[in-house]
Amino acid sequence: MNTKSSISKFVVDAKNLATRELNEKIREAIRDGHKQIDIQNVSGQRYIAAGIQELIDIEIFGVPGNDLGVFMDGSKVVVHGNAQDATGNTMNSGEIIIHGDVGDITGMSARGGKIFIQKNAGYRTGVHLKEYQGLRPIIVIGGTAQDFLGEYMAGGVIIMLGLNLKGGIHNADYVGTGMHGGSIILSGDVRGIGREVEVQQLDQEDNRLVEHSVQEYSKHFGCKVDEILGSKFKKLKPVSTRPYGNLYSY
């Protein structure tokens, strides 16, 4: 391995590259020992950083396509712009930081890792988040999200800060529908919650997690930490770990 290249930053121009061509270049750079990769002019290429198990810093300039960071295991991806649908799909560990909005089903079925969204998220954010032993996925949304936030959630944490929220009410309805594990912590009210969840107060551990997450959010995007932590948070928890346990039995 070339030790010189392992410290230098590798820059890829994604202009006119197909999804597979771009991902091949990224993997080639990783094989060559690069630990930092900048991808310029990204325009809709999918599966960026898919399944990468090395610890790489990837910076994306432009709009990455669907399934950014799918199955990713340990890397850090920073997007300078908006991201599209299914960001962090089934992610195992690592970090995705988006300086903008994301599309729908962000963090779908993620099993670990962190996703920070500076602004707003689309529909079904955190659908079927999981957790297992030491792995616990965390999604932090700076702004607001749409319906079915945390749908069928089986573990993990979603924290929604509601910054710049107009009227103090998130548009999201059916929050936590089908939820049977994990928790959703949010500032502000939502239009409606699923019948499988109840509203609770934050306990000490939750408070520590929120404080830590807001500090991290501030580190990425800059914000007034004290002001945010001073706002009132509440927690949605599932009432049962098996809400449909009796559905098909007599």
Binding site: G44, V63, G103, D104, N120
Partner: protein
């Protein structure tokens, strides 16, 4: 059906079924069309993926752009945007709708017709000639150099409707009937579009391929729609590509209509026929029914296609609640169930709409007077990197783009 409101008013709702029995609801197909239709699909894997690893990435892409000042622009941007979303499609259908492309014949009905063979062409041309005054007609200019597939005959006719032919029937009604006659004739003639100063170009192929075949770089329009197809549960043939047009309105669609049977039966009872073997056609027919026959604004039509849930209707203010209740009851057979995002257009109007649970993507953007709708944000940024505003529409909430007033078509 009648509903009595709390203050005693009686709202009569047009909800009368007229049961008509059609002798043959099946569409007659010519022998050559039958071959085209029954031909097995090419290997989807191979079409989609040159790496032969049998991975199929499915879904369609839709794109629309409109200049609010009706300034004409070339199609290269929308072709590029549509082609940039190739990974959503598999090359089995693409198409474009262009508004404002025939300034010379702006007041003539412009027919774009596909023919299966020479025989169909002769029949179709005679049919048009005997029912319309043809001002000018020609083969649609095509570039099939390097295209190794069957390309059907395409002809366009610029026509007037001879008023003597009309005995108390409206011009648009006459036009609709004649198009239907052609499409259901079984002769192998299919009307792709028939509106004034607009046209639909579509076929089996990738977006850039269809654009090349129809030489779209030679046209200018103020409103363009495009579609790239991944056929899921209907066959890939030239008539089944999007956009679908009915009079001057066109529609492109990503998703599927689970309520197709219900919608189709309702529309057939109103005298419509489905002739293109694809669920999207329902949108075009339903739009005609609601927009032209019932004179409903698009804001209302969006609430018919994708109505709010009853739970949400109950929470609304009284007037809003009454309106939406009436809409859901009156037009329940035109509720489009299932995952979809669509863009529909007419002269001076472009509307984007996703289903109420937002199961298919749609993004809106603006740059000065240019309004854009797309399946993916990346496709917009690709052609206009410096857009002013991006908007993620909510499910069931239409994005309505209108041309500025005072710009006549």
């Amino acid at each position: 059906m009648m509903i009595i409101t709390h203050n005693g008013h009686i709202i009569a709702i047009r909800y009368i079924y007229v049961f008509q029995f059609f002798n043959s609801s099946e569409i007659k197909l010519s022998e050559s069309a039958r071959q085209l239709v029954n031909k097995p699909l090419k290997s989807v894997q191979r079409q989609n993926n040159p790496y032969k690893d049998e991975k199929v990435i499915d879904s369609c892409s839709i794109f629309g752009m409109m200049d609010q000042n009706k300034k004409l622009f070339a199609g290269n941007d929308i072709i590029e945007a549509s082609a940039s979303m190739n990974q959503r499609a598999n090359g089995l259908g693409s198409g474009y709708a262009v508004y404002g492309l025939y300034p010379k014949y702006w007041n003539n009905y412009a027919f774009h017709i596909m023919y299966d063979d020479k025989e169909a062409l002769d029949w179709g041309s005679k049919f048009i000639e005997s029912n319309f005054d043809i001002i000018f007609d020609e083969e649609i200019p095509m570039d099939i150099h390097g295209i190794h597939k069957h390309v059907p005959i395409m002809r366009r006719y610029f026509t007037n409707i001879d008023l003597d032919n009309l005995d108390e029937i409206k011009e648009d009604e006459y036009l609709v009937n004649k198009c239907l006659e052609m499409n259901t004739s079984g002769k192998g003639a299919y009307v792709f579009s028939s509106g004034k100063n607009m046209g639909v170009f579509k076929g089996v192929g990738w977006p850039q391929e269809i654009a090349k075949i129809f030489r779209l770089d030679e046209y200018k329009g103020y409103l363009w729609l495009s579609h790239s197809r991944f056929p899921t549960n209907s066959r890939a043939w030239w008539g089944g590509a999007h956009p679908f047009a009915h009079l001057e309105s066109t529609v492109v669609h990503n998703g599927e209509i689970s309520s197709y049977g219900t919608n189709r039966r309702f529309l057939e009872m109103k005298g419509y026929r489905c002739t293109f073997q694809t669920d999207t056609e329902i949108f075009a027919l339903a739009l005609d029914y609601l927009q032209r026959k019932h004179q409903l604004p698009v804001e209302i039509i969006a609430k018919i296609f994708a109505p709010p849930l009853w739970k949400d209707i109950e929470k609304m203010s009284e007037s809003e609640r009454n309106l939406l209740r009436r809409l859901r009851i009156t037009y329940d057979k035109l509720l489009m169930n299932g995952p979809f995002s669509i863009i529909f257009a007419n002269h001076g109007l472009m509307v984007g709409l996703a289903d109420r649970l937002k199961l298919r993507p749609i993004i809106a953007a603006r740059r000065k007077d240019m309004l854009l709708l797309s399946s993916e944000e990346a496709a917009i940024i690709k052609i206009l990197p410096d857009i002013d505003d991006v908007h993620h529409p909510k499910g069931g909430e239409p994005v309505i783009a209108r041309c500025h007033e005072g710009f006549a078509s």
